[in-house]
Amino acid sequence: MASIDSIAENLRHLDEFARADTVVHRLDPRAKVVVTLAFVVIVASFDRYTVAALMPFAVFPIALAVLGGLPAGYLAKNVALAIPFALLIGLFNPFFDREVVFHLGSLPVTAGWISCASIAVRAVLTLGAALVLVALTGFPAVCAALEGLGMPRVFAAQMQFLHRYLFVLVDDAARSTRALALRSGGNAPRPTTVASLLGLLLLRTWQRAERIHLAMLARAYQGELHSRETWRFAAAEVAFVIGWVSLFCILRYYDLTRLLGTLVARVLP
């Protein structure tokens, strides 16, 4: 992961994007969650040597990002940051799966390289879709949507707290690490130092949780977080879900890329 300051920065950005007001933002979050889940499952359902047929799926994150006013650079940077693990494992494929499938000019292309490329494409698509979902919906709304889709209420309430105090605690941790760095003369901190820093942070957090709970009780809290927002699953949402999911299904069973390839081959001599 990147430095703690850049993560804090990133969190704020995400939240800022989520507070914009566009067509995509106005959709019921449940619709967006459902479509994104469908997207991820369908992308994952392709077999391991699929590369080309996955390409058309890029239209989903791209279209949403554009309609929602999400900067391309932001999206690209964050997808790039998140990709390494999948790519690392994917890079082993060429070593174990060496059968040559075809030659590109004089370059032999093995099945391993194809599946590696497939992993990279999947990673970009699925990570991109998840990022777009949160950036255009906002975390609290995603939580509310998941609750609407059957997630237990306790869990939803807990995630709401997590999100709220994430910012406070990330700042707290950032201050502590900065203070630590300033006094450790450029060396990487030793585990014992980190442990006591974390221990203190933990105790401070615990006390804070106790104070928060008091503050909630003081305002007649009885174990339920009422949410003010009432979303409506209207015609626009139904159209959104049906439209995208049917597009995904078509793209899944009907390889658009081969069709395009054949078309291009026809047009060119």
Binding site: A63, I114, V142, L166, V168, V194, L260, T262
Partner: protein, 352 residues
């Protein structure tokens, strides 16, 4: 060590989603019924703590790499396994959504590897066993370190099994195991030390926090729960993978089931026949030759390797060309939309 969407098949991802969702539902009910609701804000805020704490790296001596706190075990020691499981799960949801760490399909795997295994296996079966009822500082530390190592080893093994079962990566099982386990042994030991130090710290500063846990959180009900989970996972996983192996495509199977297109014994012909008929009907180009991407798979598995070399090359090239064209088209649609959005909002001024 987050599992990633790109390495997962829907069958494996779906199985672990189901298992994790069941775990969340069960633990949420447990927390609501058994514990006072004071724990909900506490769990939320401790989740934020864990999130922040995971950003603080420490160097792993002798390896030149760095690790961070996993937290599942620490939270289980502080909150008990149910609340700890929920808290780790919530952190993973946030990481998946905010940082696309792992991804949505892999969420179930990650919750299982990093939440379930430490909280419901390492904590009751290792930590509790070693620590006993009223542990002294040394016993507490030993129990914590051993449990952390076990938990992380299990988690790493989980990643291996899930990856290999999905079959997207070609890494052989043995190689992957030999790669993952030793790496996570070193990480686990250091993490264990850090966790132990934190536990000792809390033990000194606020002993009442550690004593507040009901001692009954150990043994029997947990073992029953564990067995139930394993059974559920085995059944779902077994069913899903049976269909997956009959028919490489979990999704096709589920769609066929939804549409009622076929009886179970011979899913292959039924589904494919139905789909082929469907494709025939909606085909734009009559001579559109490459309908199923599964063909690409058969190329690589070598079953039909002796097939026509020419057509294989042709299909590959048309795949590459088509894929690029599709990608370009996707971006083009993006630009068009952007242009329209700009035009609509009058020169791109942002509204509030």
């Amino acid at each position: 060590m987050h599992m990633a969407d790109a390495l997962l098949s829907p069958a494996v991802g779906g199985t672990l989603w189901a298992v994790s969702a069941a775990g969340i539902a069960y633990c949420a009910r447990k927390v609501r019924d058994d514990l006072d609701e004071r724990k909900v804000p506490l769990m939320g805020v401790l989740g934020a703590f864990l999130f922040a704490a995971q950003m603080i790296n420490f160097s792993i001596p002798g390896t030149g790499s760095s690790g961070h706190l996993g937290g599942g075990l620490l939270l289980a020691i502080l909150l008990g396994p149910h609340a700890a499981f929920l808290t780790v799960a919530s952190v993973l949801v946030v990481q998946a959504l905010f940082f696309a760490d792992g991804g949505l399909l892999a969420l179930g795997c990650n919750i299982f590897n990093l939440g379930f295994l430490p909280a419901f296996v390492a904590y009751p079966l290792v930590y509790r066993r070693i620590a006993g009822a009223r542990p002294g500082p040394l016993r507490l530390s030993v129990a914590t370190i051993v449990a952390a190592v076990v938990g992380l080893q299990l988690g790493a093994f989980g990643v291996v099994v899930e990856t290999v079962a999905s079959g997207i990566s070609s890494l052989p099982f043995s190689t992957f195991v030999l790669f993952m386990q030793p790496v996570h042994l070193a990480i686990g030991i250091v993490e264990g030390f850090v966790t132990a130090a934190i536990v000792a710290f809390v033990h000194r500063a606020r002993p009442e926090l550690l004593d507040a846990l009901p001692a009954s959180a150990g043994a029997r009900p947990l073992r029953a729960l564990l067995l139930a989970f394993l059974a559920a996972a085995a059944v779902t996983g077994g069913v899903l993978s049976w269909f997956a192996s009959k028919n490489p495509d979990g999704l096709e199977w589920s769609i066929a089931r939804v549409t009622g297109a076929d009886a179970l014994p011979a899913p292959e012909q039924g589904v494919h026949a139905a789909l082929a008929a469907l494709q025939e009907r909606i085909a734009v180009l009559p001579d559109y030759a490459f309908r199923k991407s599964a063909e690409a798979a058969s190329i690589a598995t070598g079953d039909e390797a002796g097939d026509d070399q020419e057509s294989r090359l042709g299909s590959s090239v048309s795949g590459i060309v088509g894929g690029s064209v599709a990608l370009v088209l996707a971006f083009l649609i993006g630009f068009l939309l952007k242009w329209r959005v700009r035009a609509a909002s009058g020169g791109g001024g942002s509204r509030r």
